[in-house]
Symmetry: C2
DNA sequence: CTGTGTGAAGCTTTTCACAGCG
DNA sequence: CGCTGTGAAAAGCTTCACACAG
């Protein structure tokens, strides 16, 4: 299976293709060409063919791609053909919205624990879970072999939380706090910062 | 003022530099070198110097950059040295979290109206605002000269909402729905999709 | 014919390395 | 000296264009 040779920018486009294929499948479409998939995802047909070619030959010449087959292949490549366990740190407005976000469970991304350092919140129920104190973070992560964490705490606390997560053996972090995390390079970090997104949009207005 | 010649990838890095500079300023640091700024933001020193050079010469040879001055320049370039008015469409868990998100107002990004199509939600208070019905969308946007909208509705409704926003004269959209929006190319779209972010992380695990 | 898969070409972005300024 | 600003080189990514398969 090709790994290191695949550009990261290609991997980041695969979820978009997957999402489009899921929708086509729901509509009952059976076959799709790179040109059609391109129109729906906003990419060029050539780019889609090239991206897919990093992982194998999934299409049929003269015909296109079988939607369900390509969907399954992308799920396998992205490893989303199985269930993942996730912890959320921070039970503020954002943490609560994340726990209730239906698209996560729908895609096999299961939030199985929530943590907060506010004693007033610890013990309260949240979407079928109980908010746990930070001191239980490492034990919970290790006992349940959790690999992915979502950071939803205020910016000042983000790096400290990230350090704790690293110590607990987490290998992937989705960071919602507007802060650049300094972590070992073997930990994968993705950043979601609405302020940064808006600030690079206002440049063009 | 340079515009079209500046690569988009450069513009998208500026908010990260700005964020780091704000923190340095809060700590009382007065001067910073490209190497130091690089360490904090995770970029190379050369890249930072090159990025900044698209907009002018902000540093002093042998010394570095004056933190406050560079911060002000970046704010001016990104046009975040003024206040922006924003509408949020969708008053679910995510929309509510966005309305309460303190980093927005702190950075001059003011949510001034919230809309939802659920009659059970319309009229309810939310963070100092009243949830408005969708039929008031266009009037509100036009009367208050709003340029930026945040879409926080379920995936199936996203494209329809985007079309309404385009009709109402919106020029920038931040889309939280897991859907690729088809919009006129004169409308700037940024996508935030936690599922997609996680799905490209699981590839590497 | 239609539409994939893919080398090669073309373009963009990053890194290098150093002149030159304070 | 130390560190910026920047051409030039290197690396990376996208598009082109066509052989080839169904």
């Amino acid at each position: 299976m090709p790994r290191s040779e695949v550009p990261d920018v290609v991997v980041r486009r695969l979820p978009t293709y997957l999402m489009a294929l899921e929708r086509m499948l729901a509509r009952g479409e059976e076959v799709v060409s790179s040109a059609e998939l391109g129109k729906v995802t906003g990419m060029s047909a050539a780019q889609i063919r090239k991206d897919l070619s990093y992982f194998g030959e999934f299409g049929r010449q003269g015909l296109g791609y079988e939607v369900e087959f390509l969907r399954d292949q992308l799920k396998r490549i992205l490893q989303v053909d199985r269930e993942w366990h996730i912890v959320v740190v921070g039970a503020g407005a954002l943490g609560r919205a994340l726990v209730h976000y239906r698209e996560f469970t729908r895609r096999g991304l299961n939030i199985v624990a929530v943590f907060d350092n506010d004693p007033g919140k610890v013990g309260l129920p949240l979407g079928g879970l109980i908010i746990q104190p930070m001191c239980e973070l490492e034990t919970t992560i290790r006992r349940r072999h959790i690999e992915i964490a979502i950071i939803a705490v205020p910016p000042d606390a983000a790096q400290a939380v990230a350090d704790e997560l690293a110590l607990a053996g987490i290998t992937a972090v989705l960071n919602y706090a507007p802060a650049t995390l300094r972590l070992d390079s073997d930990i994968h970090v993705a950043q979601i910062d609405p302020v940064a997104s808006l600030q690079s949009i206002t440049y063009y207005l």
